[in-house]
Amino acid sequence: MFITLFLLTFALSLCFIPESQAYTVRVWCFVATLLPMWVVTWMWWNFDASGHGLQMLAILGRSHLAFGIDGVALSLMLLTTILFPICMMLLRTVAGFMTFILLEVLVLSALCVLDLLGFYILFEASLILLFLLIGRATYGSLEAAYKIVLYTMAGSLVLLPTLFMIYSECGTTNVLYMTCASNHQTVLGWGLLAVLAVKIPLMPVHLWLPEAHVAAPTAGSVLLAGVLLKLGGIGFLRFMLPVVPEFCVSVFPLVSTLCLVSFLFSTLSTLRQIDLKKIVAYSSIAHMSMVTLAIFSQSEFSAYSSSFLMIAHGLISPALFLIVGILYDRAHTKFILYFSGLGASMPIGSTLFFLFTLGNLAFPLFPNFIAEVLCLVSIFAVHELLAYVFCVCQVLGAAYGFWAFNRVVHGLPRGPADVTRTEFHTVLPLLNGSVWLGVKPMA
């Protein structure tokens, strides 16, 4: 909302002071990212959880630009503002800080904007920042950067004419008023599906994700997995379901097939990977395909379960990326065969890795478990056979999780140093969040 945006732009403008001392910039940016966290917590406190509509609406006068939050967006905003300070702790260059502050502005606004055109502009604007982040000279990969931008841009250029079509039909792109798009549902739906399927990666257009995760810095991977994929999810929930519900129902067979294929393919692909980050990246695809399926099932629990799975995934996946980042810091490689026997030399690190791997494969006592059960319930209400298949295929999640864990932690010790206190505190919020949500999930 307004307060968040103004805080962030304030922080951004103050970052323009050319500080050549990296430490001051770092502290300042970290503080700047803590402020939205408090604001969002305050917003959570004031949120009326029994209402069904959008709250805290802020409509800029006489324009269609409107901001507002509902439960899903609020929880995702809280997740975002918790993840960003963690990212700030990981960054090292001033350019990185600037990029991340800009990204935080864009993502927070994208989560609460109610205008489809605004949403489009905001998440397109994050693309060029991601390109520069992923394509950076030394450790990044240019090919991955091209892939993420071109995939997303191609999808969004399919959305653009449909957006104009809504505008010329309804006179607005504000989702509050956009329910009149009844005779152009199909075209509109395809446009939205095109871009959101790239963003929350579904099967044919998911290829950007593994490479982007490998090439991004640790903070970038945390951001990508934790936040940017959820933009696709909230796009589905906020823009597709209210506006083109009949299209969603009619396209459910296709989407469910894509989700199933996505899930199976990515889960099985992890078993062939040799790069630790790619393993986690492919598991992200699997989780998000479950989210998409739950959204599209449009049953009683679907919005709730999918948003809960998004939050759970947003806690566990960034934590896994953090651990991979810790290993990378030590060994400067993510090659899985290089690591072995970390259990002997990194007890705390392997414990964390174990806990988050359990979370990843939806072990009970973790939020993923509750979320996946609820998702399966919501899918079950619509398509029983699919839910059966998904239940069985969950086991495959355990396959790659324990395989990766085994390769890394067990075996002959090779001995990198253990997790430092800083790094532990980086991972700690996520651990706290996942344990707490796993034991006591709330709305």
Binding site: R62, S63, H64, L65, D115, L117, G118, Y120, I121, L122, E124, A125, L127, I128, F131, L132, G135, R136, A137, L142, A145, Y146, V149, L150, M153, A154, L157, V158, L160, P161, F164, M165, Y167, S168, T173
Partner: protein
């Protein structure tokens, strides 16, 4: 009569310039300033004329010889009258005046090592445009023989279209622009990429009604502009191809009769071009390329979005699909430029011959306008 005033004023200006330059007390900057004032004074008060006048005033700032200023003024007169011509002969004469001034300028502004390049560019441009204009003249005279009148209204105007498309640099006839962009000095490049396009599009939008669909040219321009830049090693030719792509988009705007979108995108494009070739800071150059690529939140996105929107509303679906596809294709080389310029080591740029104050002026006004899409978003969201 205005024309007599104009000629008289121009004559006075020539005399003044020639005599005072020999004097040595009057510097070129003064003469330049007088030329700019003269431009503002003689311009009638219509919006497009005024826009052209402002543009030429800004562009005059970067030229450094009196002959160049004179030729630019002559070209300006040609453009001014071409924008409002209703007669075939007046169109031809004015277009030729403008073109030949540019040709002479290409050869004239050669300095030092790039002399042969500039002369070669001038020769190429001269030959090609002479051929096209010759064909146009032949067609005009054939029409005169057939119909006895030289009015533009109600005639078959296909050759006007071809001549104009040639001068714009539209795709089947775009070869000269790729070669020319690489060979001419920067000030002339600034002029060539902005002023003729403004005047020609104004002519098209206001004075001439075409009966033909330019769809073929749109498709050609966009495809060649998107794909042609892929292997280009030189920045200038890369941006020549991007210009061809943008001209294709502007033709799409004309094709769907969205003249307001045409002017908006043209305005943004001109500002971006001015910014592009005047910058010394590499990172701003990268941002300019982002704007040209059409990525939000910069102004280039809104120009393109307006054009697409208008095409959508008149239901030109196939052209729109081709335009969107080519935008994705052209994004690739823009990304290459962005990456190269963003992460390039920032060293002190070699001093170029433009005066620093003119760079800052152009850059400042252009930055303010190119990156403030708020003015454009507002009509969008209301």
């Amino acid at each position: 009569m205005i024309e007599l005033d104009l000629c008289f004023g121009l004559l006075l200006l020539i005399l003044f310039g020639l005599l005072s330059l020999r004097n040595g007390h009057v510097s070129l900057a003064h003469i330049r300033f007088i030329c700019q004032c003269w431009l503002v004074m003689i311009t009638p008060l219509e919006v497009q004329d005024f826009a052209l006048c402002i543009l030429t005033v800004v562009l005059l700032q970067s030229f450094h010889s009196f002959e160049a200023l004179l030729f630019l003024l002559l070209a300006y007169i040609g453009q001014l009258y071409m924008m409002h011509s209703c007669n075939l002969v007046s169109f031809y004469v004015c277009l030729e005046a403008q073109t030949l001034c540019v040709v002479v300028l290409c050869g004239l502004l050669a300095r030092g090592a790039s002399t042969s390049f500039s002369v070669e560019a001038a020769l190429k441009f001269l030959l090609l445009s002479a051929m096209v204009s010759g064909m146009a003249l032949f067609w005009f005279s054939a029409m005169y023989q057939r119909t006895g009148s030289l009015d533009m209204v109600g005639q078959e105007t296909f050759w006007i279209l071809l001549v104009m498309l040639f001068k714009l640099g539209v795709a089947p006839m775009h070869m000269w622009s790729v070669d020319l962009y690489g060979s001419i000095p920067k000030s002339l490049l600034l002029y060539l990429s902005t002023a003729p396009k403004l005047s020609l599009f104004t002519f098209w939008a206001s004075s001439w009604h075409h009966d033909f669909s330019v769809g073929v040219f749109i498709l050609f321009s966009m495809f060649i502009g998107s794909i042609g830049a892929y292997g280009q090693p030189a920045l200038r030719s890369l941006f020549a191809y991007s210009t061809i792509n943008e001209i294709g988009l502007l033709l799409l705007a004309v094709e769907t009769a969205g003249f307001h979108t045409l002017y908006q995108h043209l305005g943004i494009y001109i500002i971006t071009q001015l910014l592009l070739w005047n910058l010394t800071d590499k990172r701003l150059f990268a941002l300019c390329a982002v704007s040209l690529a059409g990525l939000p939140p910069f102004a280039g996105f809104f120009g393109k979005a307006w054009i697409f929107w208008h095409a959508m509303s008149v239901q030109a679906f196939s052209l729109l699909a081709a335009a969107l596809f080519c935008t994705v294709l052209s994004l690739v080389y823009y990304l290459r430029v962005i990456r190269l310029f963003w992460t390039a080591p920032v060293h002190t740029a070699a001093s170029f011959t433009g005066a620093p104050n003119q760079t800052t002026l152009t850059s400042a006004c252009a930055v303010a306008l190119a990156f403030a899409p708020v003015m454009l978003v507002k009509p969008f969201v209301i």
